[in-house]
Each structure stands twice: as structure tokens, then as C-alpha cells.
């Protein structure tokens, strides 16, 4: 029995992203595609998302010119690939407040948002620091926080203080403080709805960028694989590794059940297709009775 379908939906991409930004210490190892994605979780009468992307109207030209971010499409086009509209989304879990995850809340008028309170509180602190410490404000847009005021005023934003179980049936939130950002969180879907679920999926946000963060080359220390943290962290790589271990414990060390949304190679592990807008739709799992949105795969190997 599976309660939820989960899709990873690409909405934009950086075609040539330096590997050292993805894997800590991977200097001079070339470039790879870094897709920008969000996640849709559908089931039990709910449509939830993990993160909402960014608003092209405000950033698009600058991102395109300066960083090679290309092929942005609005949520209406992206969600249509799995038969949904932005208005259908009733819940959004914001893993962290970077612009490319929290930068498009206005496109989801019926959603209730969840974010860690610490993520907001510590950004306030970071913005109060002298200019010489501005690195701590990386990828943070004050406009997004102001849009958060609109949500909070309308009663559509819950600031979560720590872990939160059963936000939706079978869906839990877990904090990972002082990692990629001050108040990151990851989302766990217990897809059979039981407390001791054997069918768990973890949506990792930016705690994991790439499979290499979960299964890095362990040759140097004579083991098959080791955790290797992502490069960008305002917290610490130690905390990233501890968060990785915590996530792995929850899925009984079955690493493919941890979903890194920036990982192009998800297509090698899960069924997927490319839309007519050249965006990839990856199908992580299907709820009972749901029809595939990517082709004829049965997903039998992933249950």
C-alpha cells in the first residue's frame, strides 16, 4: 500500500555547474548540469510541495546573464506535467529560505507553508551583522521574507520549532540546524502510513545535492563509500554529515530513498521523461490507484 505519489519536477537548470560547489573539496574536477527542481507529493486528498522555486520576474535576467541559469518555466507549466495546477497545492514545506527554494510563494495562493522558526530568526541575526560578514547572507532575498509576512498575516505560515510529526498523515518534518543554512529541514514520507514504515522517502532539500554526498569515493580510506558533504554550508560540514547519517538511519541505509533534488542522475535510478519544454519529470513512487506521469514503468523495484 502506498499513500502518496512523489515527483521531482525540474523548473530550470544551470548547464555547467562546477563540481566543487556540489561536493566538498572537489576542486578542478570539471562541471556538470545542476537542475533546479521542486517536489510534489500527492495523495490522501492532499497536494504538497517541497520548496517552490524562484520568481523569474525578479531574478531571471540577472541569473541568466551572470550564472547561466536557463530554461525557467512557471509552476503552472511545470505542474501541468503531472496534471496539477498551483491552486491545487494545499501544503508547502520550505526546506530553507534560499531564493531558489522560497522565492515564489505568491504562485501558490491556497497553500499553507511550513518553515523552521530558526531559519527566520537566524537570517534576521545574519542581516544585522556588519558588511564584512555579508557572506552569511548568501542567496537570501529580504523580499522573500517580506512575502513571508503576507503569508503569516493570512495565517498561512507556520514557523516550526524543531521536529514535527504527522504534519500531513505519514509526513514528518526534521530539523538539521546549522548545516547548509541555519534552520534547514528535511521531509520524511512514511508511505504506508505506519510508525515503523518500511516504505520511507526522504526529501533532502539542499542537505544532499548529489549521490556523491551519500556515496562518495572511499578508496582513500579503504572503504567502498563515504559521506562527503555539500560544499556550501553556513553551518558546518560536520553537521551536514550528522544530518546525512540521521537521514540514512531513517531509511535503513538504503540511500536511493534519499532524494537529492539537484541530482541529474535521478533519471538513472527512477523512471523519468523530458517534457516538450526540455524539463525532466522524475517519478519517485506512485500511490495506489495513481497513473504514471512518465511512461509505462511499474516502479516494482522501488517498493
Amino acid at each position: 500500500m502506498a499513500s502518496y505519489s512523489i515527483w521531482v519536477l525540474e523548473y530550470s537548470a544551470v548547464e555547467n555547474y562546477h563540481k566543487s560547489g556540489i561536493v566538498y573539496g572537489a576542486h578542478n574536477q570539471g562541471f556538470k548540469k545542476l537542475p533546479y527542481c521542486y517536489v510534489v507529493i500527492k495523495g490522501g486528498g492532499h497536494v504538497a510541495m517541497v520548496d517552490v522555486g524562484y520568481n523569474h520576474k525578479d531574478y531571471g535576467k540577472h541569473l541568466g546573464d551572470k550564472f547561466g541559469v536557463t530554461n525557467w518555466h512557471p509552476p503552472r507549466d511545470v505542474l501541468a506535467e503531472v496534471g496539477l495546477k498551483p491552486e491545487d497545492v494545499d501544503t508547502v514545506f520550505v526546506t530553507h529560505a534560499h531564493f531558489d527554494h522560497f522565492g515564489n510563494v505568491e504562485d501558490f495562493p491556497n497553500a499553507h507553508f511550513y518553515i523552521q522558526e530558526r531559519e527566520i530568526a537566524k537570517w534576521i541575526w545574519a542581516m544585522s551583522l556588519p558588511e564584512r560578514m555579508r557572506w552569511l547572507m548568501t542567496a537570501m532575498d529580504p523580499s522573500d521574507i517580506l512575502r513571508g509576512v503576507d503569508l503569516a498575516k493570512e495565517g498561512r505560515l507556520t514557523c516550526v520549532d524543531g521536529a514535527m510529526e504527522e504534519v500531513l498523515p505519514g509526513i514528518d518534518l526534521h530539523p538539521a540546524y546549522d548545516t547548509h543554512t541555519f534552520g534547514c529541514m528535511w521531509v520524511e514520507v512514511r508511505n504506508d502510513g505506519t510508525a515503523q514504515s518500511a516504505d520511507r522517502w526522504i526529501l533532502a532539500g539542499d542537505l544532499i545535492y548529489d549521490f556523491a554526498n551519500l556515496e562518495g569515493d572511499g578508496d582513500a580510506v579503504d572503504v567502498e563509500t563515504i559521506y562527503t558533504p555539500v560544499g556550501l554550508a553556513v553551518g558546518s560540514q560536520t553537521n551536514l554529515l550528522l544530518a546525512t547519517e540521521e537521514m540514512m538511519k531513517h531509511v535503513d541505509y538504503e540511500s536511493r530513498r534519499i532524494i537529492p533534488i539537484h541530482e541529474e542522475r535521478l533519471k538513472d535510478t527512477f523512471p523519468s521523461r523530458i517534457s516538450d519544454k526540455s524539463l525532466r519529470i522524475t517519478e519517485i513512487c506512485l500511490a495506489d490507484g495513481e497513473t504514471t506521469k512518465v511512461g509505462s514503468s511499474t516502479h516494482s523495484s522501488f517498493r
Partner: protein, 184 residues
């Protein structure tokens, strides 16, 4: 040679305002500006000097906008009503005072007068919001609403004042997920 008295040299283009726009309440500059003058100004040392000098004020205003917005998220999302004694409020006050000082000290070429006025308007809106937090402690829904309105007025003005040529952008992308080693 066209006369374009509404030109904004920081944007390099003319604007037509919609009916009811606040900008129409402002007295327009009487200076007559030619296309050639604007073109020359775009690459002038005078513009470069202004852009570099105004950036610290922009950064401070951006930070204060972010801090006050974050505080309002926490106020709406929690039962806390009085923030006036919090360290971030004190620090935001100091940063805002610095921004005012920067703006007062600027030498403003005529062709960027509108940019300067926008920056000053942002500072004014943020000052109103901060005064409400400091003096009244955000005790009523009316206080919250007034603060929120000041912040909502400030944000588009600051966005309009953004200029990537001078690293005046709302978001610092230099080490962001999208960064390929370039600076924002």
C-alpha cells in the same frame, strides 16, 4: 533631439506612470535632458562615483528591510507582541541611522536624482516602521498593519533602486547554489 524630462539615468529609459501612481505627486525635475546627455552620463565618472558611493546605503537599507520583515514573520507567527528590547531591533536602528548618514553625505548628480529620491523614500518608510516597533512594541493589529504597509511600500522602491552594475542586488548570488564562481 528629443526632450525627455522624466528620464531615469540609472535605468536608461523613460517611464509612463499609471493613474494614481505616487510618483505623480512628486514635482518633476524641470531639467531638459537629451538622449546624448544620458548616453554620455551612462559611462561617466560621475555616475560611477555615485553608484559606488550609494551602495553602502543600499546594503544597509536591504538589511533593515530583511530584519524588520523577519521580525514581522515572528510576530504574526507567535504570541510575542513586544520586540522593542531585542538586540536585532537595536542593531536595525543603528544600521538605519548609518544609511541616513550615507544618503545625506552623497553628492547627487541631477540625472540620478530620482534614484536618490527612491533611496530616501525607502529610508523614510523603514524609519516609520522601526519607530512603531520601538515606541509602541507592536501591541495591536493596527500597529502590525501599519508596519507591514511601510515595509510593503519600501520593498518595490528598493527593488527599483537595484542596479547590478554596482552590485546593488536584492540577493547576493556570489556563493549561491547557482554560482559558477562569478561574483554577483
Amino acid at each position: 533631439m528629443n526632450e525627455r524630462p522624466w528620464i531615469n539615468a540609472m535605468e536608461g529609459q523613460a517611464r509612463i506612470h499609471r493613474l494614481g501612481c505616487d510618483a505623480l505627486k512628486q514635482v518633476p525635475s524641470t531639467a531638459k535632458v537629451t538622449d546624448e546627455a544620458v548616453l554620455a552620463f551612462q559611462t561617466s565618472d560621475e555616475l560611477m562615483a555615485y553608484g559606488l558611493a550609494v551602495r553602502p546605503a543600499y546594503e544597509l537599507l536591504k538589511r533593515v528591510l530583511g530584519q524588520l520583515s523577519g521580525m514581522m514573520v515572528l510576530i504574526y507567527g507567535s504570541r510575542r507582541q513586544d520586540l522593542s528590547d531585542l538586540e536585532p531591533v537595536v542593531r536595525a536602528g543603528e544600521q538605519l541611522a548609518q544609511a541616513h548618514d550615507h544618503l545625506r553625505a552623497l553628492r547627487v548628480p541631477p540625472l540620478v536624482r530620482r534614484h536618490y529620491e527612491r533611496m530616501s523614500a525607502v529610508a523614510e518608510q523603514l524609519s516609520h516602521a522601526l519607530d512603531l516597533i520601538r515606541c509602541r512594541g507592536v501591541r495591536t493589529d493596527s500597529d502590525k498593519e501599519r508596519i507591514h504597509q511601510h515595509l510593503k511600500t519600501a520593498r518595490p522602491l528598493l527593488l527599483k533602486a537595484s542596479d547590478s552594475r554596482f552590485a546593488m542586488t536584492m540577493t547576493d548570488f556570489s556563493a549561491a547554489c547557482c554560482s559558477c564562481g562569478a561574483s554577483a
